[in-house]
Amino acid sequence: MKTDTAAGRGLGSLWLRLSGLALVLLSLALPYRLRWRWAYALNFILNRPRASGALLLKKPSQWLNHALLGVIYFIGIGGSWLAARFLGPKRGPREERTFWRDRGDPGGYDSGMDDQF
């Protein structure tokens, strides 16, 4: 919304004028510091409504985020770890002559540029 009257053109609707008047009168009724604080809140709500909500929810959403990630990690990653550890093939000690791995058939590679995988 921002300062929609910045260009100074007529805004038309009566509602807009009356709402402007109401907010002006409210401002005029307030002492100095309180007026600025009221303006700060008004600015935030009118111009950045999502940010206003986000500011209030910042800490709770961080906690929720961490909790969710924790659940994904310990259940998802942990479950896979358990499965790999107890159900996967056992790896014994290796004595390898080389650590080079084959890179696979390049012919199969060409069609793979369509995929992110």
């Binding site: 260009a7 402007g20 600025w36 111009n47």
Partner: protein
């Protein structure tokens, strides 16, 4: 450090009202070309936030000129001055001028100019520059009829020249800054690259315009505010005269008590 920048210097100092925005940045860049000493002054009051933007811009300016001494900079508060301008003879003014008392942007800038005036008188500086632009004429302090001309007259009453180089030359600020290389992008205003002081109370002026502008022509708007601001300037003149005259009476003490560092 030596510099290849050709400065056509006048043997004077200048105070530049500096918010960190594009307009005041260009003004500061121009001022460096012209004046021996350039003093950037950023005025603060309750509700102006992101002073770190201003500090970053000052650093950028010094870096841009390749001269760590290119600018002095200070912050000065004007809460008491603007509170005075807002609330002096409140009921009488409310009856007389109604919702014009809610034209906050103009009153705020008037308090900044008032403090600049006293700063000039304190420090013997005779030149003041600010970044007023032609495209912002709805704002009283960037409108020739409402405040710009009266401000010039107020300053000159005390032997100070107030100039608005961007306004006078009709410069396209963003283009200038882009071609000079200060900004890497053509469009900066209103983007994340626009690093300036942020006024969280500008919405009050927007509400005032929303109410006051419709149903009036722009000339009527200008005339309506000009009278209101003329009275404010009278008050400023009266108190400044008393203060500058340093008479040990009630008037001088009043302004002195309102001046902050």
């Amino acid at each position: 450090m030596n510099s290849p920048i050709e400065r056509r210097l006048e043997a004077e100092e200048v105070i530049v009202l500096f918010s960190g925005g594009c307009d005041s940045v260009l003004t500061a860049l121009r001022a460096y070309d012209r004046f021996q000493k350039v003093h950037l002054v950023t005025f603060l009051r309750a509700g102006l936030i992101h002073t770190e933007h201003v500090e970053q811009q000052v650093d950028r300016l010094r870096h841009f000129q390749g001269d760590a001494q290119a600018y002095t900079h200070r912050f000065i508060r004007t809460d008491r001055l603007i509170e005075f301008l807002l609330y002096e003879n409140y009921l009488r003014n409310l009856m007389r001028h109604g919702t014009r008392l809610a034209s906050h942007c103009g009153l705020c800038k008037l308090s900044f100019h008032w403090r600049t005036l006293t700063l000039c008188l304190e420090q013997g500086v005779r030149r003041v520059w600010d970044g007023a632009v032609r495209s912002a004429k709805v704002y009283p302090e960037q409108n020739e009829t409402i405040l710009l001309k009266p401000l010039g007259e107020l300053y000159s009453r005390y032997g100070i020249r107030h100039e608005t180089p961007i306004y006078e030359e009709g410069l396209q600020v963003e283009d200038e800054l882009f071609h000079m290389g200060f900004h890497k992008r053509r469009k900066v205003k209103g983007t994340v690259f626009d690093q300036q002081l942020v006024c969280s109370q500008q919405v009050l002026f927007a509400m005032f315009l929303r109410w006051f502008l419709p149903g009036r022509s722009f000339a009527e708007y200008e005339a309506g505010l000009a009278g209101f601001y003329a009275e404010k300037i009278n008050i400023i003149r009266e108190l400044t005269d008393e203060w500058a005259g340093a008479r040990p009476d009630r008037g001088a003490a009043r302004l002195a008590a309102m001046l902050e560092g």
